[in-house]
Symmetry: C2
Subunit: 421 residues, 2 copies
């Protein structure tokens, strides 16, 4: 398939973007020149082209639990509300929950998400059908039980084999949940298997003070120190949250080129703490940081526009410095930095890059006037400003319409009501 | 005009809302029973009815400066960017800027705003034409200059007289800008004139540490103490921001039943500080607090859904308590508390109340599933979830369409580019 986007605002001027297959073949500055072989033309006048946004940490199917339990202390929320319901989730539940998440992400301009959840096969199916790009890991929890560790290892080996047959835009990763739910033995297996097969490793790290305390009690070290002590950390490690770390731990992240996902809304909503953003920047880790929504139970949506704004507001407010995380940085956390993290040839609109392109409707009242597009994107827009979404060279949304939308919402609502009954 | 909204979700069940004139005449629980005399019927199936939201502090025409200057230290931002441009604003500029703001607010479910800006007559005209409800005050600044004080007093007397001829849904208020821009003499005149004519008084208070310091230097007291010393404070005082106050000042606010507007996004973006929300609650001032966006230059939109969410996140994150400002409170700050503040018979959907009604489209992906409507409204929704807006018994938006929208955006964009040239 080939697509021509005509007269779209890109880098301050109207340009044409020509897509063939799943790549941007060329960008021309020459007005309305068409191409005879173009199968599909989009009039981009009055719209701006931006790279599809990256949601670097979520649990997609938790859309099913949106609004189910809020305004509670973290541990009580997990133990009395979230975990009991999650224990009952079926493959069908996760399939429809993930489809709803994919729909919501497409409608708000996200073309890639990094997921960790139960029933990996259901997530694969949902992603394959909706056309979005994703990195999918299964939740690996052994509860320090040797039998469960063996079972999880066996399962992840099987998933790795299965992942060779899924569409190329779906990346398999290992998902050791966290150091307080996964044994040292399992973490070491993860480390070795990931090394052998060049896999990315997705985990929660230093999210709460309880995690830090339990780590000190169990291993006599803080979380990042412990992972360093077992040679777990490297450039393929994707550590989410990273809220409670001391200076030494920050330097260990730097030393091992660890990738860091910031989840401002979730951290604020659960009062978990704050990523030391300015400290990480000073250490030279800026380009290692991306942005994620976390699951819908602690957010409660998947809108990366909102996440960019709140990230910037959070650091300005806490640091007392209104120049902290300017709009351009928030935007890069959601695009180019994330592309680097997931080793994808995307995150910018340029010739030769993957055709993951989002068109913003500049006629939305909240985007008028357009003194500064990046400011408008980060501080004024929300997901509803997205008009068109192209992922992997295919049009997933045009004029805000997504195929099969009604069925997804109906089925997801139905299974959601079923699981909380 | 009479309007029947059929089968709309209200308080957990489908109901009919019948509006005549500018009031809700009745709410019935009896299915689809129509009324022969109804001039306009709206099918509300799949939608939820909520009161129109209140934006309790803004500078509407600053939509023109959206994205013009961000990520700067507050004083530099004001002195080098905002004030020089504002000094050049014409009546036409403010008219189109306010119209754009009204459009944006209607599109995001706000039916009332409290404004303070230049060229009062232009704001009145914009509000009158767009059909929204508002309290409008002119910026009263004398810079401690006696001649200017006299001029401002004369002007406000004239505006008060003029306000008797404007539509009833427009309320006139006095707008002494702040204690660092208005002399004691002018503040005392404001106090007396407001008392005599039973007017609300809208001012910025304790927004920055610089304001506190200048007040101590000038008067030997902190801001709230100073206002108390000149008998300025009472139940008609609407104090915006209230970020830097000590215990004694909080108690003075309580003693005088002062109304307080919280502007979380603006305060975070400018790193100004944080409203001591939980302290105010403990003092029994909860129902005196409402929520505002502030102007678009420091937000940069007018979406009250976003404001509710960020308010709640801010207090959870800063207090370390995830139960701080639960969804229901954030919603009340934007509805019933504000109605009390502005002495309006609204803020809830009930018989006899003003017909300021908003219908939310429950089929938006981010509102599925609907385990808890208030949670979804505060944590998941944004302004684009609004389908229909009724204000003062008139339909201002139906199916997201507002009359004259295109012209407003074009003209506002045109004048916005003109003023920054």
């Amino acid at each position: 398939m080939s697509i021509l986007i005509k007269n779209v605002l890109l880098e301050g001027k109207e340009q044409n973007i020509y897509i063939t297959g799943n790549k941007i073949e060329s960008i021309s500055y020459t007005g309305s020149r068409g191409r005879p072989e173009t199968e599909f033309a989009i009039e981009g006048k009055g719209m701006a082209a931006i790279p599809g946004l990256f949601n670097a940490h979520t649990h997609a199917a938790m859309t099913l639990l949106r609004g189910y339990a809020d305004d509670m202390p973290l541990q009580e929320w997990l133990e009395t509300k979230i975990w009991p319901v999650e224990a009952k989730l079926t493959e069908q539940d996760v399939y429809w929950g993930t489809k709803l998440a994919c729909l919501e992400m497409i409608k708000s301009g996200t073309t890639f998400f990094n997921d960790m959840y139960w029933h990996w096969g259901s997530s694969v199916k949902a992603v394959a059908e909706t056309g979005i790009r994703a990195m999918l890991s299964a939740v690996f929890i052994d509860g320090f039980d040797t039998a469960k560790s063996k079972e999880q290892i066996k399962r992840n080996k099987a998933l790795y084999e299965a992942s060779k047959k899924v569409p190329q835009r779906i990346i398999f990763a290992l998902g050791p949940h966290a150091i307080y739910t996964v044994s040292e033995e399992s973490l070491c297996w993860t480390r070795d298997f990931a090394e052998k097969h060049d896999l990315l490793v997705h985990l929660h790290l230093a999210e709460t003070t309880a995690e830090v305390e339990s780590c000190i009690n169990r291993y006599g070290m803080r979380p990042v120190e412990f992972l360093d002590s077992i040679d777990f950390l490297n450039a393929r490690t994707i550590a989410c949250h990273c809220v409670h770390m001391n200076r030494k731990e920050l330097e260990l992240l730097k030393k091992h080129d660890v990738k860091i996902v910031h989840n401002p809304v979730s951290n604020m909503k659960l009062a978990a703490g704050r990523l030391p953003y300015d400290d990480l920047k000073r250490l030279g880790l800026y380009s290692n940081i991306a942005l994620g929504t976390d699951g819908c139970a602690s957010n409660n949506n998947l809108d990366m526009f909102e996440e960019m704004k709140i990230a910037s507001l959070l650091h300005k407010a806490f640091s007392g410095d209104p120049t902290s995380m300017p709009a351009k940085e928030a935007f890069e956390l959601a695009t180019v930095n994330a592309a680097k993290m997931f080793r994808l040839n995307s995150g910018v609109i340029a010739t030769g890059k993957l055709a993951d392109v989002v068109l913003l409707d500049l006629k939305k009242a909240e985007l008028v006037p357009n003194h500064n597009l990046i400011s408008n994107i980060v501080y004024s827009a929300n997901g509803s400003c997205v008009d068109t979404v192209i992922c992997d060279g295919k049009i997933l949304m045009a004029g805000r319409k997504v195929e099969g939308e009604e069925e997804i919402k109906e089925k997801a609502q139905e299974v959601a009501y079923g699981i909380v009954k």
